[in-house]
Amino acid sequence: MLKKRIISRLIGLLIVFALLIVGPYSLTIIKQVQKMNSQEESLSRPGAHDGNPAHREFTSRLIEQMVPFTFYILILAFLLSVFFLRNMLISLTNLRKGTREMKEGNLDVQLDVLTDDELGDVTRAFNDMAVALKNKTLELEQKNRYVTTMLDPLWVVDQEDRIIDINPAFTRLFGHDREDVMGVSVYDLLDEKNALIMRKQRAEERRNGIASIYELNVLSKSGIAVPVLVSGAPMFSGDQIVAQIGILKDFREQRSLREELQNSLDYIETIMNSIPDEMIVIDRSYKIVMANRIATGNAELDLTGQLCHQALHNSPEPCWSQGYECPTHAVFADGKSHGIIHQHTAGNGSIQHYEILASPVKDASGAVRHVIELLRNVTERVEDEAEIVQKNKELTVLNSISGILSRSLKPNEIFTKVLEKMSELLSMDGGGIFFLDEETKEMVCQYHSGITDDYARTISRIRLGEDLPGRVAVTGQIISTSDISRDHRVGWSIIKHSGIRGYCCVPVKGKERIIGVLSLFSVNPHVFTPGEESILSAVGEMTGMALENIRLYEKLSLMYEYQQKRWEEEHRHLLTMSAKLGAEIEIEDIMNQVLGLLRQIFRADFAWMLVNDPSGNLVLRSSTRTGDKEGVTMYAADVTSLERYALSRRQMVPVSDIRAGSRFDISPDVSGYHAAIAVPMFIGEKPVGVFTLYHMIQKDFKEEELHFLEIMANMISVAYERSEYYRRAGREKELADTIVQSVADGIMTVDRQLKVIAVNSAFEKLTGLGRDRAVGVQVCDNFRFSDKNIDFRIRLGESLEEAAQGRAASRTSVLTTRVGSRTPVTITSSPILGNNGTISGIVNLIRDVSREIELDRMKTELVRSVSHEFRTPLSAIVGMTEMLLQGDVEDSRAKKYLEIIRNEGLRLAKMVTELLRLARIDSGKETLQFRQIDIEALLKDIVNTLAAPVDRHYATIRYAMDGASYMLGDEGNLKQVMMNLIDNALTFSDKGCMIQVDIKRTGNMIDIAVTDNGWGIPEEDIPHLSERFFRGKHGYRVKGTGLGLALCKEIVKMHDGTMWVQSTLGKGTTVSISIPHREVT
């Protein structure tokens, strides 16, 4: 159309222009031609114009020229037309270009409107269209962007439920590419079950036209069912639903959250039910809203719905309202967690201790809605702790009492302290100790506390068997009452209505009898527990032992004083005698003087000395009576006199009354006496004679007198023999000082110039100095051989100096011997006093006291060890208890602490038991009950008893018996020994060890050997094994009391047996015991 128009317009313009140009031009030409023609005709004939050739030629030439001219004119006209039509052409070109660009996607095309004609309208319309198209495209792009960037997958399905579109999120979630699922039925992406759900939903949608939301599992490309929440919406075209769009919300997270929630609910329930502690949830009205199985089980009823105080305390009111600490109340009050130990009353009425951790359950506003309580029954622990604290206190008191008892020998101190400590331990207000006065048969109160002296006087004497102390002293049984004033068992007592309520009285037992009672009282009622009673009994026993010890000590010190006095006296007499005997004077004088001295010492009324004459008669040699003739035959050889009898028996014969009975013939010279002692004298085998002391009264001779007389007899024999020798061989010098030589202590006699004149063999042995070197040397020069003897020489000097002034002196020092060993010694120097009181020399007695010092050291060491060994376990008990009480220890560690406290407490208790046992043995209180023992039965019993520890060590225990089936012994004690040995074998061996017990009879002995293949004992430890508290190399690895073997050794010793140990380090140990076999009588 437009083209037609343009062409027509072009043609029109062309014609116009052609006409405009050609017309005038042609007219001009035509006019010119006509003019020319007219001119020509005027020149020629008229009418001859068309017949003129020149004219025709010109006309044709003109026409010929006119044609190209016209052509050019036409071109010019065309060009002019085109020029005037250019805008239209540009517009057209632009339109074409614009259309092409638009086709290529450029929607920003805007064309210039060049003409105001239809073409201009067209261009305007084009421009409007381009804008509208652009806007639409942007809108579409936006929509597409929404769809593609949508996080949730979507599908579009047609009415046949075939997928016609999906978005990239769909591909992302399920892995299906767009191309793969286009046209595919949605049911192909679902499993059977989900397909059913979907069909149902779709049917409903179609029926109701309502899109619903439902859950579906869509299979991903890899076949995994992905949970999604589908929300559908229909797509309309007009009124027609053409497709259904489904948005598939990824439901995996929600699903897992939901599952988690379910799981966690199950989990909470499982946890609540599986924790071993009770757990309850309480609301603000103190009602239990939830309780786990344990809580329900323990309460034996369904707790849910119950009031907590009703259910747990049997109380109608909340316990906080009664002033008790209530964790629930506390949590509701401040919203924080609270942990306390609480008392609950169980269904059977027993008090249970609960450790309660109460925590708040808060709502969104922070208000406490519920309280969760975790209840742990710690009754056992609380009781254990209380028991440990109590035991700890008891042990400390027992330890301090035993300390007092072992340290002090002052009865006052002991008894007041015992009363004080026991009152403190048992929270008593006072007490008293009564001792039995054997003569008056009365209980005398000697120590008291907590009562006035006046009141003490009114109860100071109680008859044996009367009132409570009297009854306890008779029966030996403990009496205790929680309230004496109401106790109907106590009919009458002086203290019944004195204000005293709690009262306890225990016997104080000595070695074999009751020596008193210990009583304690309180002004408030006090129930004495069996534990308290047993402690009191133990203290009674310990106190009794201590008292016996004091008495023994007092008796010993008296005896010691007496002995000391006797010894000094004896020593003085001996020195006097030896001085007399040693002097070279007439034997008769000596004899007379010696007899005189003897008579004096023994307060005898008469003494004589008879000697054998060659014919066997006993003749008088010397007598204390003046006028008796020496050489007179007193008894013929065949007469059975006291003296003859003593000589024939070769021993002293003491007779308390020689006239009683008629055993001996009595010479008229001595017929007036009663008591007599005949002392025979021998030199080697050779009888020398006999001296006899006679008393006017009847008399029993004491041991020490006999001993002294024996020494005298020896001295006199020697002197007599010597005098006889002198008598026969003149004055030949020979010192045969038998007595001095026979003394076990070193004796060194010096003269007035302090030159050594004699030493005995004991001196040689003690000092290592030979007699030849020592005699004749200045006394102190004798000990110059060692620089270490300076102190010894100073002490010896001091002692000699004092003795030189006439009195005996004593010093202690350490002597270094010739061989270099150091021996602790006491030096006793006694002056030899002559008749006129002059000092003729000094006798120095040097005694080796290393044994005494060693014994003393051992005793001290034992006391120190006891205190040391007690302190270590006490450290655990005291220190760890303190830390537990102060809350320094975490719960997980607290158990470990309690275990250590328990173990150390047990070790301490075992130590106390074993020490008491040893103390009983030491004090001779332990007596054996000899019975016939069936050895095999005993072994079986032991193996059974030890089965548990043996199993724990995976050990094998075997026993063999050879020729021994029965033996006599104390079964309990021997069992203890063997158990200790086997226990040691287990303790000091690796797991899986082998223990062999062999019992066999060898001659008159029963040999028991316990062999193990354990760690063995280092050689240097073996000699110390039975020392008390000795813990060898392995003591570092394993804990014990260090008393077991000591106890074994003592028990074996009491059976008159021996015990020894053989061991190789790394190989094993054999402990052997050999006990004499006793026949059953």
Partner: protein, 124 residues
Amino acid sequence: MSKVIVVDDEPFILMMIEDKLKTARIDVVTVRESRHALERIRNERPDLIILDWMMPGLSGIDLCRLIKADPDLRDIPIFMLTAKGQDTDEEQGLQCGVSRYITKPFSPKSLLEMVQETVGNEQL
């Protein structure tokens, strides 16, 4: 943080002291075998040494003498913590340069106080 070395052959004593001192944020090094103690002391350079007396092998008092003989270590204060409770023992300990002589059983609380008094209480 202060550092204390404790030498004792009894494991539970070590445990107790360690637990107690740790409550006051004191660093504790425990040594059970006294023969290794000197080397540890040289390496650790503690502010205080707590020694048991009766130990197998090298006794606490001998160890104390060794420490006091070392010019680098002699200024470190030493506590003697021992079951030997006799006056003569204490005298001997103090003569060797022990700053405190504590007899077992002891109160961990008082021990901590003594330690803090000696090494300074860093919590304050």
